[in-house]
Symmetry: C2
Subunit: 349 residues, 2 copies
C-alpha cells in the first residue's frame, strides 16, 4: 500500500513523531495483540525499516528482523511499541530491549495506557542518552474549549454504528483514494495507531470532556477551499459509553460530509451484551441533527461496510443491498472497485 503519512519525512521530524520506525513486537505470541504493528506495515510500510522481537516471539510483520543498532544504521529514528497486551502495561521482560533501543539512539513511541516515563529504568536511560519517551495517548497541553467558528476547507469524518469496525481503515482508504486523484488531502488521526501512522494527531478519547470539541478544532484547522481533511472517527453517538467522545469530535470537526462505517452481521455493541447495534439510518439521523450545530450543510456521503468476514459474493450483495436501501453510495474500502470510486465521488460532491 502507498504511504498515508500526512507530513513529508522532514516535517514529521520537526513537528511529529520521529520516523522511520522500528516496530517492536516484544515476546508476543498472539497476532491479535500486534494490530498496531500490522497497521503501520500496511499503511506506512515505507516508513518502517524493520521489526525487533525478543526471544519467544511468534508474531512477525514480515519486515526485516533488526536489532536496534542495525535499525539506526538503516535510518530508523523511533521505536514503536507495536503490540498491546491485556491491561496495557509494559512487562518487565521488555525493559532491557527498550533500554537497548534508547542506547542505540532511538526515541520510544508508545500508545499504551501505562506511561513510559513511569518506568524508572526507561526514564533513567532516556535521560542518560538524551532520547525521548513519547506517549501518544497523552493529549497536548493548552487545548482550548471549542470556538464554533465556521472554517474553510472540506472535512470528511468517518462515524460508526459501533467501535472497532473500520473507521480508521475507512478514513485511511478514503485519504489514499482522494490523494490518488491528485487532491490535497490530510489524514487526521484521533487514536493511537492512527497517530503513529500519520506521525501526528490528537488522542481524542483522552481529552477532558470540556475540551473535546476544541481538540477536534485544533486537529483539522481552517484550510484552503480545495483542501480535504479526512478525520478518523471514534466510538459512536449511539454507544452506551463513548457517545461523548463521538459528539465532541463531530461538533469540533465541522465535517462537510460524513461516511457511516458499519459491519454487516454485528448484532450487539462490542462488549455490551443486550445493546443492539443501531441502524445505519439512526446514525445518519443523529449525526445530521447534532452535526448541524457547527456545520449547517453537513451531509452523509455514503456507507463504508466492513465485509471482511463475508465471501466476495456475499459482500457484493450486502453492499448493493445497503446502497439500494439507503439511496447512498456504499462500498467496502478494503475491497475497492467501482463502488468505492462512487463513494469517493460522493465525498467530494
Amino acid at each position: 500500500m502507498s504511504s498515508i503519512a500526512t507530513a513529508p519525512r522532514d516535517e514529521a521530524a520537526e513537528d511529529g513523531l520521529p520516523s522511520p520506525y522500528l516496530l517492536f513486537l516484544g515476546d508476543t505470541v498472539e497476532p491479535g495483540y500486534a494490530k498496531t504493528a500490522f497497521g503501520l506495515r500496511d499503511w506506512v510500510g515505507e516508513r518502517c525499516v524493520g521489526e525487533f522481537t525478543l526471544p519467544g516471539a511468534r508474531v512477525s510483520t514480515g519486515l526485516p528482523r533488526l536489532a536496534p543498532r542495525q535499525a539506526v544504521a538503516a535510518g530508523a529514528r523511533g521505536l514503536v511499541i507495536g503490540v498491546a497486551n491485556a491491561g496495557g502495561i509494559i512487562p518487565r521482560t521488555w525493559i532491557a530491549g527498550l533500554v537497548e533501543a534508547l542506547e542505540a539512539g532511538l526515541d520510544i513511541i508508545s500508545g499504551m495506557h501505562a506511561r513510559l516515563a513511569d518506568i524508572p529504568e526507561l526514564k533513567a536511560a532516556a535521560e542518560r542518552t538524551g532520547r525521548r519517551l513519547i506517549d501518544v495517548r497523552t493529549p497536548p497541553k493548552g487545548i482550548p474549549v471549542g470556538a464554533g467558528v465556521r472554517r474553510s476547507g472540506r472535512r470528511i469524518l468517518t462515524v460508526g454504528t459501533d467501535c472497532a469496525l473500520g473507521k480508521k481503515y475507512a478514513a485511511l482508504a478514503i485519504t489514499r483514494g482522494l490523494r490518488g486523484r491528485g487532491l490535497d488531502v490530510d489524514f487526521r488521526a484521533t487514536g493511537q495507531t492512527g497517530i503513529m501512522i500519520a506521525g501526528a494527531g490528537v488522542p481524542i478519547d483522552a481529552v477532558v470532556s470540556d475540551f473535546v470539541a476544541g481538540a477536534a478544532e485544533m486537529l483539522s484547522p481552517a484550510a484552503p477551499p480545495s483542501h480535504v481533511d479526512v478525520i478518523e472517527g471514534q466510538g459512536s453517538l449511539l454507544h452506551p459509553a463513548y457517545g461523548a467522545v463521538s459528539l465532541g469530535l463531530l461538533q469540533g470537526s465541522q465535517p462537510t460530509a460524513f461516511v457511516v462505517c458499519h459491519e454487516p452481521g454485528r448484532a450487539e455493541i462490542l462488549g455490551y451484551a443486550g445493546h443492539a447495534v443501531p441502524s445505519i439510518e439512526a446514525v445518519i439521523s443523529a449525526t445530521l441533527a447534532l452535526g448541524r450545530v457547527t456545520s449547517p450543510d453537513i451531509r452523509c456521503a455514503g456507507i463504508s461496510l466492513n465485509t471482511g468476514k463475508l465471501t466476495p459474493r456475499a459482500a457484493q450483495a450486502e453492499i448493493e443491498a445497503v446502497a439500494e436501501r439507503l439511496g447512498l453510495p456504499a462500498a467496502d474500502p478494503m475491497r475497492g472497485g467501482p463502488a468505492f470510486e462512487r463513494l469517493l465521488d460522493a465525498c467530494l460532491a
Copy 2:
C-alpha cells in the same frame, strides 16, 4: 429556603465535603463574582455559619461576618472559596486569610481552576496544620468506562438549550419540591457549586471524555424503585463546544425523565455569537434519540423556564404559551405555584 443537602451532616463529614461552611468572599467588589457564595446561602443556608471578607470587599451574603476562629467556635469545619474571578486564579491578597483559616482548623474547599496545593504557602500551611485542601474540580480517581447496564430507581436529568440558564437551580428546586412531597430524593451534583451545595458529586466537565458516561453512572447508582435522583445537567447537546459533556452525562445517567431548561428571550448561545439558541423542540428530539441508547423509556417531563428577567405578568404569559405550544407542563421553578406542581407531577408520572 430549606436544605437541599443530600447527606445528613455526619455522613457528609465522613464521605463528602467538611461542613458547616464559612463562606470566603475575599476582597471582591462585584456581586456577579460571588455566585457560589450566594448559591450556598440560598440552598444550604443552615450549613453556612457566616462569611469571611478581606479589607476592600464590597459584597455580602448577609450572613454574620466572622473571622476563621469565630467560625470554628460556631461549628464551621470548612472554608469555601465563594467567589470566582477572571482567570480562575487565587490572588496573592487572599493567601494570608486562607492560611489564617487553615491555622484556625478549617479545611479549604475550592472550585477554581487553579489547584490550591499549587500555592506553596497553602500547601505548607495545610501540611503544618493537618488540614485538607479540597479542589472540587478534580474528579475522583478510578472512574470506569460506562457499563450501560440498566439500573433500578428513578432518575430525572435537567438538560438545556444553552449553558448558564438554570439547570442547577431547576434540579435543586425539583429536589426540594419532591422532598416536600415526602419522597426519598437525592440531588446529584455535576458542577463545582452544585457539589458544594450537595456536599458531594462529580465535576463532570473535568472528566476525560472516554469516562464521562462512567462518571455519570457512578454519580447516580442503582437505587430502590421509589428512590429519585435529580441530576444537575451541564451544557447542551446542541452547544458548539460542550455537547460532549452533555451527551456523556445523558447516556450515563439513564434518566427516566428529563426537564428542558430554557431562558425565554435568549437569542444566541452565550459567548457564541452567530449561533442561535436551539428550539426546545430540537433539544427534546435530540435528547430522546440519544437518551434511548441507555434508557429506552426516556421521556420529557416538561419545561423549566428561567423568567428572571421578565415581569410576573410576562413570565406567566410565556409559561402558558410554552406549555400550550409543546403540550407539556412548563413552569419557572423559582416562581413555583401550580404550574411548578404540575411539572413535579409529570416528573413522577
